[in-house]
Symmetry: C2
Subunit: 167 residues, 2 copies
DNA sequence: GACCTTTTCTTGAAAGTTGAACTAGATAGA
DNA sequence: TCTATCTAGTTCAACTTTCAAGAAAAGGTC
């Protein structure tokens, strides 16, 4: 199947195909697994949980919407809907930003923090079981480096990756 | 941050946390990237594209619904909706299964095959650019092994992973 | 200040996903 | 056969995500 360099479209080598398949299978199974785990134990999808985690780590347990969206790698629109839902659950609250009247801060409530405290151990355990318990230290290190490279290549990277001609 | 073994919940080490972050960033960016690429160039999300690929590789370009769902790692419900949509596009057609009157075969149409032929090069290129062009041969090999391990741990594995007490 | 552009965030509709309920056909046991 | 159970696939309602559109404030520039 490996196409020689005939000028036609370059396909993946057999090895690359296999790796790509494995990547797709592993990542979809993983996402499904965590979504179910969190839906069951915390009543929300993985994305939403990630938002709460981000907030819990931020100073004052709050963040501007745009910054939160960027950190969580989701669109602002998606974040608006998500925060609306989390607000209905009482886990997040919106506050006007004092310095910018357009701005909104998403604030993690005490209930939100509690829920996080309750569900974190189970979630961490799920991640460990699925990944770290199965990989050698060498592989863990490798996985980190590889994911860093991939993410780096896809990151907007503050308008410079797209403009290499500007030095 | 690394919690000693005090009997409380075991957290991730700092290194593991970093790796997990990198994993999440890379995989969400990747999925977004491919979804956009395919939505733009092929008019469908990545999952749907994957279904067409599966069918194109199957003998007779067709597959039973349940088998297709299993291979693509999605629920039967999701597949029903997806096939309905792909059918409306003219890329897939349903046929009754001759041997089992409950069964349906999803069949890739000629239009579907054409669309696949047209969009495959661009898609492959996107995958290569994002992953294989950036990793060393060593890393590619490593990534494959790692993903295999992770997928293996999450796979239903034909009712045996869930029933270890049956040997 | 008046004007134009950009940034921040929200909204609404359409598309996709989920989980539970449901129909119809297959299977197995008495 | 009669019955109970299981499997294949679909459907419905609730929920999430996307995309395009829009309101409001901020930041130039003249």
């Amino acid at each position: 199947m490996t196409t020689a360099s005939t000028g036609g479209p370059r396909w993946l080598t057999d090895e690359e195909q296999g790796v790509w398949q494995a990547y797709l299978h592993a990542t979809t199974l993983m996402e499904d697994h965590l979504d179910r785990q969190l839906q069951r134990d915390a009543g929300m999808p993985h994305t939403y949980y990630g938002l709460l985690v981000q907030l819990s780590r931020a100073p004052g347990r709050q963040k501007r919407m745009t910054e939160l969206a960027k950190d969580a790698k989701i669109t602002r629109s998606r974040l608006s809907h998500a925060v609306a839902r989390l607000e209905k659950n009482g886990w997040v609250r919106r506050e006007d930003c004092p310095s910018d009247k357009r701005g909104q801060n998403a604030v993690l409530t005490d209930e939100g923090q509690d829920m996080l405290t309750r569900s974190a151990p189970g979630h961490v355990e799920a991640v460990r079981q699925a990944i770290f318990a199965r990989l050698s230290p060498q592989q863990v290190k490798s996985l980190g480096e590889i994911m860093q490279v991939i993410a780096g290549g896809l990151q907007p990277e503050d308008t410079d990756a797209d403009l290499p001609w500007l030095r």
